[in-house]
Symmetry: C2
Subunit: 254 residues, 2 copies
């Protein structure tokens, strides 16, 4: 069975600040752009606007770096206050090098700078942190969007992550609600009736990556509608993107 | 500027064997499905059909495992002949564990089993190897498709790779021609006129991931057309997916 995919950036989202009703903004932007949001559609929302709406901003000015932060700042050539903010979001430092600080966040996400970011923030001395619980953020967004629409499209919260061994970033799902994050094809048979023994497709990550292709960071299309994944959209919110995080006990590259 | 993306699986590709004119199959399948292939379109072709058409098949029967292969076979619980085939495709073993053998291929790709696969192969005792030079495969496909069409859409050759720290596989570009593999946004400014200092988007990988979402492994849609990436499609074949491979000297997770 063939599935066509459409990926549509939703323009016209206003500047998001703490307390902005992001769900209302998303529904308005979607209506302006595509007229209708189907219950089988997936709304991919950039982490940055979720974090802003949730007030996950931290001024650099109030941060006092620890001894560890000072040492890592020297090793990475980063601002020690920024490094302290990164450490505060992290459970483990995986790698540090000039310009590079890769940690495991409290959510278990492995990424540069614990996802702490200074870009796309109006005040230059303010850091943007990842949501405290991106799956919960996705569930709450889905609930509110559902109330506004009368049906519940899926929600993915995405961020751009670097990858081991590969140059460049690919967008990744850090939260989701109502989308099966993984399509476990183990036990299914292929076109030659051989068992597909090792295939689990990271659907939510691939949806985030697809959305990235229509989103200009510089132009701010924070919301992208992905149509054509109905078979992975569920009534229940499901396990969220936490299900995609490989447990530390199974990690070969920590 | 907003860019809509359409991702269309092309059905009806015949069983591919060594010497099959894959370019002709792709053009025929595309015409049957979407009527026209534009010069700004990207054709994402599953590695498996490229390898088959190139005869990159190896019977298990003729393989004599080395001592190292026997040892790794015990450690990974894999067939020692399969392990030998994997070693023959690899420059370095990164990790081994029960069920797991992660290597760096001669191309520099880090993936499970050096991309050597037994699924979707008619004869069960035959292994499918990655193309010797997937970028060259993409260039040759593009050339032949271009001769058939009179214009030259881009070609991406994709494979499903596992990822460090994350469960599940995401499709990745192992070869490409005519598509900018990386969109280097460093130096551009964001919506708040702050410089985007660290953003290089792995366009070819994200295109491969988008294509994966319309492709059922079990149903064999090996060719996917991605429309909406015209701004990344180039007349020249460009650097290929080799440009996405992080040099070993910069690798933090080897």
């Amino acid at each position: 069975m063939a599935h066509k995919l459409e990926v549509l950036p939703l323009g016209g989202v206003a500047e998001i600040a703490e307390g902005t009703d992001l769900a209302a903004e998303i529904v308005r932007a979607a209506r302006d752009t595509v007229a209708t949001i189907g219950s089988g559609d997936v709304l991919v929302v950039a982490q940055k606007v979720v974090s802003k709406a949730e007030g996950r901003l931290r001024p650099l000015a109030g941060i006092t770096p620890s001894q560890q932060a000072h040492e890592l700042a020297r090793a990475t050539h980063k601002d020690a206050r920024l490094v302290q903010a990164i450490l505060d979001e992290s459970q483990q430092v995986l790698r540090s090098a000039p310009g590079v600080l890769i940690t495991r966040t409290h959510h278990g996400l492995v990424c540069a700078n614990a996802g702490v970011d200074q870009s796309n923030i109006p005040a230059g001395d303010t850091l943007c942190l990842l949501p405290v619980d991106p799956d919960d953020s996705a569930r709450r967004l889905r609930d509110t969007i559902g109330e506004l629409l009368g049906h519940r499209p899926a929600v993915v919260i995405s961020d751009s992550f670097g990858r081991a061994w590969r140059i460049g970033q690919a967008d990744t799902a850090i939260g989701c609600a109502g989308l099966e994050p993984l399509d476990d094809q183990r036990g299914r048979v292929d076109a030659q009736s051989r068992e597909l023994t090792a295939t689990i497709v990271a659907v939510a990550d691939e949806a985030a990556s697809a959305a990235s292709l229509v989103r200009g960071k510089a132009t701010g299309e924070a919301i992208v509608l992905v149509r054509g994944l109905e078979r992975f959209v569920t009534t229940q919110d499901g396990p969220g993107a936490a299900a995609i995080v490989r447990p530390v006990s199974e990690d070969l590259f920590g």
